[in-house]
Point group: C2
Chain length 428, copies 2
């Protein structure tokens, strides 16, 4: 088919009539599918059930250094899991790692909240400042933006490139504005585009010269080991050691979790940073908690054993997820290729495919899909304040439904894209 | 023996010589015991190991309402655990309960932190106020005081009576000073005295007329089911319904956990409050976390089944703990009875025995014990800012060592009490 933009008004009108009819047909099917969140599918969870057997009433419940995981103590995590989580982050030494509970989002919230109430390494608490700003590469992760919005932090959108955030802009803001206290990053298989930061991008991050002493990079390495393919895999530079090399050891807070490795509802998470930042976090932990669930930490350590075990496990996840991503991409390629009504990403890992529709069309496409029973992430969610200035980006989360459901849902999606695009062109 | 205060200087000097000799003998034994924290002993943890078998790789991982505990969702807890935790709190309806992670201390920290950054139900965030004060019944729990101190909240000591905090003082402060935003309470088997609040005390709490709209009672029901005896048990009124009856539904935040029911390192915790307070907490949770560990919640629900199961389990804890409490009390009675150099509590539950030495002696007694190898909770820890104005209160935590170790440690303790008391009387 030829690009929509080259069609005559008559062609568009006749196309619209045909698409309207198709839409009514699909609507009649009564689809009920959810592609809104990056959620593992039951088959992935079933595949991990072996973890439920590694500990039983006969098990030795002590850590490798002889501490009882059932009792109080070892607030910063058991040694075998500190090592495993450090390895997941690309080889961060254990002493730079703190293990937390089941959600890295909580660590991020907590880290921001602590900066608001107590500052960062002795700097002024943000609640005492007039202006606090965060840079938000977008499209990005809605829950990051929700945290900064909750604390009244002004969010500045930074465009994404295929190498990561626009670093010229990042450097400019960070070095010139002392109100800029942080930047949200998903450096590997980014949410939602699946972009991995280039080595140059990581090095430029590590070499930032912030105007604010309490500026930190909030490095959410959520998809650190979440490859879709055995052969084509993205790797990023390990940021902590890059920061150290650049003479900026305290510049980054890194977050990671097993939410999409073991169980989303019952995994473990970790924080990594410089000695000074880790010590500060621990100082607060002694007041904030009696420590996190060490039995679940032990369960994870015994199940995965080491990075080899963990990576073997991730291959099984990939085997379940890959066909779904490919089902979506196949339909997008076949149905939308060459029409000039959008662009999409082909991630090699992570949990999302990102679709950029014609300007002003994202909200309508999402609404249209919903009308016929397919729930997508709300349009705009991938931008600060939920406002996509171009109303163009749509996040597709292909993991939860089955491949067949994904194909059906994507058929509907492309139909809605076509329909809304035709309508836009007719209005022009 | 006659009371020390009736002894002549010569008698005291000769007693001191004898005690000094005894102390050197004990020191030679090289004791190494820890009575500093309320920590379950390994036998208690072993006794709970059945909980490790209730879930395995063949288990149905769904909640009673068909939700998969392994995946995202059900942020406020699974229904069977909301019910169980509500029952633990004396019959709080599930809709008033939110289940959290493994530490109720984290919920308390979080609740205070949220009030600091965002206020309470729309009131001014505490970080914007000049003065914020908390009432602190003392002796009390050091970790409560650590939270309020961390946030720069001024702490006002409220003396404890055998019925709970001095309610005349509480009512006066709460009704007259709008800077008073909260009070820390351990209403049942209080830490460290083992006092349970009388019905009148609870009713007076529920009927408070705070000057501050954002005043809340921080009701840490830490020992809700932690009886030492089958027959003699304390019960307290259920505070939420009392508050509602008194027309003060939003007045209380209640906290509870299974840290001393299942595992200290891997239990579950809960928060209970009015509809409005619970809704506010949930609103923040949607930003703060993806939810807590539901698999561990399910494990607890399947293991304890209901309150009957849980109370049967608590009897087993009591059977292990009771002899230790009795060993301590026996030594105290036998060695210190009638000497007029201190008073102690005889709790019917909880984790502590509280000893009030002669004024100005607590620090020296604790130091003396440490010199001979027995670690007690630091003197002063049971008061705000770690300062006991009378330097008198000592918290004894008898649970972790064995009964034999407890007897040995208590022998040393009474020796140190005698020695320091004699020295004080000689100085007078």
């Amino acid at each position: 088919m030829k690009p929509y933009s080259e069609m005559s008004r008559e062609e568009l009108l006749s196309l619209k009539a045909e698409l309207d009819k198709q839409f009514e047909d699909v609507k009649g099917k009564g689809l009920k599918l959810d592609m809104s969140r990056g959620k593992p599918t039951p088959a992935q969870l079933d595949m991990t059930m072996g973890i439920m057997d590694v500990l039983n009433s006969e098990s030795d419940m002590n850590t490798e250094n002889g501490m009882d995981t059932r009792n109080y103590g070892l607030m910063d995590g058991i040694p075998e899991v500190k090592r495993l989580m450090g390895d997941m982050m690309g080889g961060v030494p254990s002493e730079n790692v703190i293990v937390y509970g089941n959600a890295s989002l909580s660590i991020m919230y907590d880290t921001v909240s602590r900066a608001v109430t107590h500052g960062v390494l002795g700097s002024t608490p943000w609640c005492k400042l007039e202006h606090v700003k965060f840079l938000c590469p977008a499209p990005g992760y809605d829950r990051h933006f929700a945290i900064t919005e909750l604390f009244g932090i002004e969010m500045i959108t930074i465009p994404m490139t295929s190498d990561g955030p626009d670093m010229d802009l990042v450097e400019k803001y960070v070095s010139e504005d002392s109100a800029v206290k942080g930047i949200w990053c998903v450096p590997k298989y980014s949410n939602p585009q699946g972009i991995s930061y280039s080595d140059e991008t990581v090095r430029r991050f590590a070499a930032l010269k912030p105007a604010a002493e309490d500026f930190r990079i909030y490095w959410d390495n959520a998809y650190a080991v979440h490859h879709l393919y055995d052969d084509e895999q993205d790797e990023i530079l390990e940021i902590l050691s890059e920061c150290e090399k650049a003479g900026n050891p305290d510049l980054v807070y890194e977050f990671v979790s097993t939410s999409k490795v073991s169980f989303s509802g019952a995994g473990i998470s970790a924080f990594a940073s410089s000695k000074a930042n880790v010590e500060e976090a621990k100082k607060f932990m002694t007041i904030q908690t009696i420590g996190h669930d060490k039995v679940n930490q032990l369960r994870h350590a015994r199940y995965f054993k080491d990075m080899n075990g963990l990576m073997e496990h991730m291959k099984k996840h990939a085997a379940i997820m890959r066909p779904k991503f490919e089902a979506v991409l196949q339909v997008l390629d076949r149905e939308l290729g060459g029409l000039g009504i959008g662009q999409w990403t082909r991630p090699r890992g992570g949990y999302f495919i990102s679709y950029d529709a014609l300007e002003g069309c994202a909200k309508k496409i999402v609404a249209k899909c919903k009308e016929a029973g397919v729930v997508l992430t709300g349009a705009g969610a991938t931008f600060p304040y939920g406002i996509d200035p171009k109303d163009s980006n749509i996040r597709i989360a292909p993991t939860y439904p089955t491949s067949e459901e994904m194909a059906a849902a994507t058929d509907l999606f492309v139909l809605c894209v076509k329909l809304v695009s035709v309508e836009k062109l007719l209005e022009a």
